[in-house]
């Protein structure tokens, strides 16, 4: 998801200055990488230029002056359009795993390919354990739980592919190198 839409959405919830926006971003999207201040201001510049947000009053709260930003009518229309659009289903990491298996079978052989898949499976499951720990923590809020669920389900999809490929690795090896 684009940072622009994320900030636009947060501003549609209430006008804020850049510093506050950055905190809100971390609070609302705990699974996302934190944004650098420069990235926030660059994005706000762009939103201003496109007329999606407007700069309002300047606040001073015991520090530097801070400009408050608010979403415009145009900005709200853009958000509505964005909500109604589906996102392109991405190809995920599976295509890379699949390429690696094909190449391993082509030039190294079945046990190398199977070995790679097993180690990949372990790596996936280790990551799934981490996400499970995060969501099982007694103080985990629902936002964190749902972010972990999202990651878990995607990792699980890869892992199922790894399992079914492992089960048919001999057949695949024959097909690739008859």
């Amino acid at each position: 998801m684009s940072v622009g839409h994320a900030l636009l959405g947060l501003l549609a919830d209430g006008e804020r200055h850049g510093y506050d926006l950055r905190r809100q971003y971390q609070r609302r999207f705990p699974a996302a990488k934190p944004l650098a201040a420069a990235q926030i201001y660059a994005t706000l510049e762009r939103l201003l230029r496109d007329g999606l947000v407007a700069a309002g009053a300047t606040e001073r709260v015991g520090g530097p002056d801070r400009t408050v930003f608010a979403v415009t009518g145009h900005g709200r229309t853009e958000l509505e359009r964005w909500f109604s659009d589906v996102e392109a289903p991405s190809e995920y990491v599976g295509s890379l795993l699949s390429m690696k298996v094909t190449l391993a079978l082509l030039i190294a052989g079945e046990s190398t390919a199977a070995d790679f898949l097993r180690r990949q499976r372990e790596a996936h499951l280790a990551r799934m354990r981490e996400h499970t720990r995060v969501k099982s923590a007694p103080d985990a809020d629902l936002l964190r739980v749902l972010a972990a669920d999202y990651a878990l389900n995607h990792l699980d999809a890869d892992l199922r592919w790894i399992d079914t490929t492992l089960q048919r690795i001999t057949q695949l090896a024959k097909e690739i190198r008859p």
């Binding site: 030039i107 052989g109 046990s111 190398t112 499976r121 499951l125 354990r129 499970t132 099982s136 990792l155």
Partner: protein, 251 residues
């Protein structure tokens, strides 16, 4: 490659609560286990995974002393249990092991509290004491308010929590669970698993969890994969034509 050498059964780890060595089991002519070794330490939460028919449930039944392996041995602590007679193994299961399956855990005619008290009553604990303990374990699994209800009045998730409480009421050394959340929707299943693993860790109970679901396995500390009756690393790879160097890389 280490896969060829790992066919040698591993020695049971010293101090293991439960271990199996070179376990073999067939049903008629079809082999289910073809030489599996594993061990679990106190407090280990271990997932046993693998495709349907891989032998993972058979492995669990052998380790729990429900099935007798054709070859190999099962040890509970220092004690070899696969050679014990059925009465001894049954007593062991009642006192030291908890067993949990996907279905048919709870007796529909009994209340939740009576269900949980049942294993204690069967071991000769007095009714009052057993019912008090049952209440405590229902509370630990967040279903104390269901104490007087019967299973048909409960949701699947609630009934399974009662079943987990019943498996834990004897404070077993080892809890054996075979697809314990397989009949539940994913959210209810996760809540059961979360409580099960948390309570087991608090009680330092070793858990052996059979599942085909990686999301379930992710609740465990480690995983053992069974394929075709063998530990995965030993299974079903054609070693005759493998590893880089034996193939010519074409330009």
């Amino acid at each position: 490659m280490t896969t060829t050498t790992s066919r040698q059964p591993a020695e049971p780890v010293t101090g293991a609560v439960l271990s199996g060595r070179a376990l073999v089991k067939s049903y008629g002519n079809s082999p289910a286990l073809r030489g599996v070794s594993l061990s679990a330490a106190r407090g280990d939460v271990l997932a046993i995974t693998g495709p349907s028919g891989s032998g993972k449930s058979t492995l669990l039944l052998c380790l729990a002393g429900i099935l007798r392996p054709d070859a190999g041995e099962v040890r509970f602590g220092d004690r070899r249990i696969d050679t014990e007679n059925e009465a001894t193994r049954s007593r062991l299961r009642r006192r030291e092991f908890g067993v949990l399956f996907q279905f048919g855990q709870v007796v529909p005619e009994l209340t939740a509290q009576e269900n949980v008290a049942l294993p204690l009553l069967l071991s000769g604990v007095r009714r009052r004491e057993a019912m008090t303990a049952a209440r405590l374990w229902l509370d630990r699994f967040g279903v104390a308010d269901l104490a007087d209800q019967r299973p048909p009045q409960m949701s699947g998730g609630q009934a399974q929590r009662v079943a987990v409480a019943r498996a834990m009421v004897t404070e077993p050394e080892v809890l054996f669970a075979d697809e314990p959340t397989g009949a539940l929707d994913s959210l209810a299943g996760e809540q059961v698993l979360e409580q099960l693993t948390r309570v087991a860790r608090e009680a330092d109970t070793t858990v052996l969890l059979v599942t085909h679901d990686a999301k379930v396995a992710a609740y465990a500390d480690r995983e053992i994969v069974i394929r075709d009756g063998l530990l995965d690393a030993d299974a079903n790879v054609d070693h005759s034509a493998s590893s880089i160097g034996q193939h010519r890389i074409h330009p």
